[in-house]
Every structure is written in structure tokens, then in C-alpha cells.
Point group: C2
Chain length 222, copies 2
């Protein structure tokens, strides 16, 4: 069936034969046809409507899937040496804007971590993280040079939902110093908010030196 779509024999929006007809065409049972069609529909190649039929999906817009994981893991996987400097690790009162993103009342406290991740000594990421104390009460007792905040929080809330924003930012004086940036070198910023059904767990901003970092992803169906 993929061949027929790829060859243009079944163009976008074309209605393909019904399950019963495909049974006869391919000489298999209806469950087999159905499973195959359902998988293609799940992959975004087909669109199925009960009572109506199965259609070749319209040309999809590109989706890129970017994996964002633990900086420490990434670095070690590349066979490089990982190190981490903790710049700030404290409990403090959140600003109004910060608390709004956690849906917490005014005056609540947040944990604040700032850390620099290094690959073979060179800084590759500045992590600026806020954590909801309710989600990880003993967050500050961790030794972040051995376990990253990412790994610690993932162990507590293994299946979070969340949202990313990726943008380019001009380097501030602080970023220039902490990330050892070249003059004029900007940063790639990834802001990530993660939550469980109960609460917002953490809001983290990762700043990466433009010249030493890029996000790679595949274009995928869907």
C-alpha cells in the first residue's frame, strides 16, 4: 500500500479500497488488513473515517522531533568527560511571574538552581532552574555534581508532560562569563516547563553557546 501511495497511484486525498476489498486483493483476513491500515493511519499516512472510508492523508507539514535529554547523559554518550559547577542552589521567594507559571500563590517559596555543565572542561550549557518544592521537597540536599537535577526530577516524576520554547538570544554579560563565549556569540535557549497531573514540577532554561551546540531532529510523519 505504501508503494501505491509513493508511486502516486493513490494520490493525496484519494479514497482507497475498503477493508473488504483489500481482503480480497491481498488474500488476507480482515483483521490483518485492519491492523495494517490502523498502523498507517497512526503514522499519519492515512486518514480513516468510520462509515465513510479510508483516505490518503493530505501532504503533511513537517514535524521535527527533537530529543532533549539530560545534558550529562548526552555528553557521556559522546565519550566526553562531564563536569558540573553549581553556581546557585537556594530556596527563595518566587517573583509574581515565576509563581504564575507554577500556579502557586503569591509569596510561595521556590528552589532555584543555576549550574554550568561542562564537556571536557568547556562549558556547553547554563542551566537556570526553578523547582516546585511540593514536587521535590529535598531537592536542595542533592549533590548536583554527581546527579543532575534532570535525572533527580525524572526519577521523582518519570512521565511528565511539558512544553518547550526554543529561541536564539543575545548573550548577557553573565552568560558571556559563565559560558566563556566568544565576543558577539549568541546562545540557543531552550525553555522547558514540565508538569505531572498534580502540579507544575519545574521550569528550566538551558542556555547553550551557539558555536558549540545544535539541535538535530528527523522530519517525521504524523
Amino acid at each position: 500500500m505504501l508503494d501505491r501511495i509513493g508511486s502516486g497511484e493513490w494520490p493525496p486525498l484519494h479514497r482507497i479500497p475498503s477493508e473488504h476489498k483489500l481482503m480480497a486483493t491481498f488474500g488476507v483476513s480482515r483483521m490483518t488488513v485492519h491492523t495494517a491500515l490502523s498502523e498507517l493511519a497512526r503514522d499519519g499516512v492515512l486518514t480513516r473515517v468510520k462509515g465513510l472510508g479510508t483516505f490518503v492523508a493530505p501532504p503533511r507539514s513537517h514535524m521535527t522531533i527533537v530529543r532533549v535529554s539530560d545534558p550529562a547523559e548526552d555528553i557521556r554518550q559522546r565519550g566526553a568527560q562531564y563536569a558540573c559547577d553549581v553556581v546557585v542552589a537556594m530556596k527563595r521567594r518566587g517573583s509574581a511571574a515565576e509563581l504564575a507559571s507554577f500556579n502557586l500563590p503569591d509569596g510561595s517559596a521556590l528552589f532555584h538552581l543555576v549550574a554550568v555543565h561542562r564537556e571536557n572542561g568547556a562549558p556547553v550549557a547554563l542551566e537556570d532552574r526553578l523547582v516546585n518544592p511540593a514536587a521535590a521537597p529535598d531537592f536542595l540536599e542533592q549533590d548536583f555534581t554527581s546527579t543532575t537535577a534532570f535525572a533527580f526530577l525524572m526519577a521523582l516524576s518519570p512521565y511528565p508532560e511539558g512544553r518547550h520554547v526554543i529561541r536564539a538570544v543575545e548573550a548577557t554579560e553573565r552568560l558571556r562569563t559563565l559560558l566563556a563565549l566568544q565576543p558577539g556569540e549568541p546562545c540557543l535557549e531552550i525553555e522547558r516547563t514540565t508538569w505531572t497531573p498534580d502540579r507544575v514540577v519545574t521550569v528550566v532554561r538551558l542556555f547553550h553557546p551557539a558555536m558549540r551546540f545544535e539541535l538535530v531532529g528527523a522530519i517525521e510523519p504524523r
Copy 2:
């Protein structure tokens, strides 16, 4: 089953009961159990190994899915006015590096398009695109102010595969001018290579002003 995983009754890496046991537990047929488990495996919640068993997937690294579509569509969808200036549209001999990314022999010709996309008059993207003439012989005859190159190529090769690289870049003099950048403002660059089973179709680099553009995505299973 999702409840049991979410509640921690089945922690990450836990081996869950076999299909036969789940048949009995839930009082359904094996096909039903199998379909449910396969779907969860496809969603990245479970890992299945033939002959071994079914396991709760380890905490997943975050995957962000970023939709990258036609700049014109995005802008119109926001209710803004779209316009496009074509800066360069020509056929020329490709450099060695360019031809290498197309897997074309030395000396081959490529189409080269440079265009500025505007939202309500303000430039939001500089498109620098190379196109394989074999994939779109009449590319240069298009009126890119009415149909974007993206839309045109998607119509010719509706189901491409591809690869993205996202990075932050310092603005060059040319970018500063064409995108009307603020002094010191960097760009977010999205480089996208798309191919069909036959050939590399196009390599495009989109430069976005840092202050007027960000990529938003959801953290998803898988």
C-alpha cells in the same frame, strides 16, 4: 494498565504480566490484550521483547515535537498579512559542498532561491534554498510571491523524509540588512534537508530574527 503505571504499582522497568495472564485478569481475548499492549509500546510506555516479556519503559528522555511548516501558512493563520520579496532566483553551478549534500556529481547545476518572508511588513524569515533541478525542473518559473517554495515542493514530493538542525547564529551584515535586525540581535537558524526515496529534493536554511521568532513544542511520549 496506564493507571497501574501512573500510580507506581508498576514502576519503570517492571515486568508486567504476560498476555495470557492479562487475558485472565481483564477477561478479554488475547488479541485484545495484544492490541492494547502493542499500542502502549508504540507510544513508548512499554517495551516488549519477544520471548522475554513486556516491561514498563524506562523514564523517557524528553522529546519535543516541533511543527515546521510553510512560513506563509503560519503567518496567515495568525491573521497577519503575508508578503514575500524574492532576492535571488537563479540556476547556477553548485559548489563542491553543496553538491555533496545532494549526492550530485561535480559541476551539476542547482536552483538557488533567496527570499524574505514578511509578517505585516516586518521581515520574519530569510529563506536560503537550494533545489535539485531533477526534483522540480520548472522551479524557477514559479511566482514565489504567490506560492511559496515550500508549498510548491510539497505538492511535488508530498511525503518527504528529512532532517533538521536548529542553531543560534550571530547575524551577518547581510542578515542584519535583509531582516532589519536590531544591533547585536542574533538569528535562529533552521536548516532542513528533505529527500524522497529517489533523491535529495531541497536544502533550505531559514534565518529568523531572535526577537520576533521562537519555536514552540510539546513534550510527548514515544
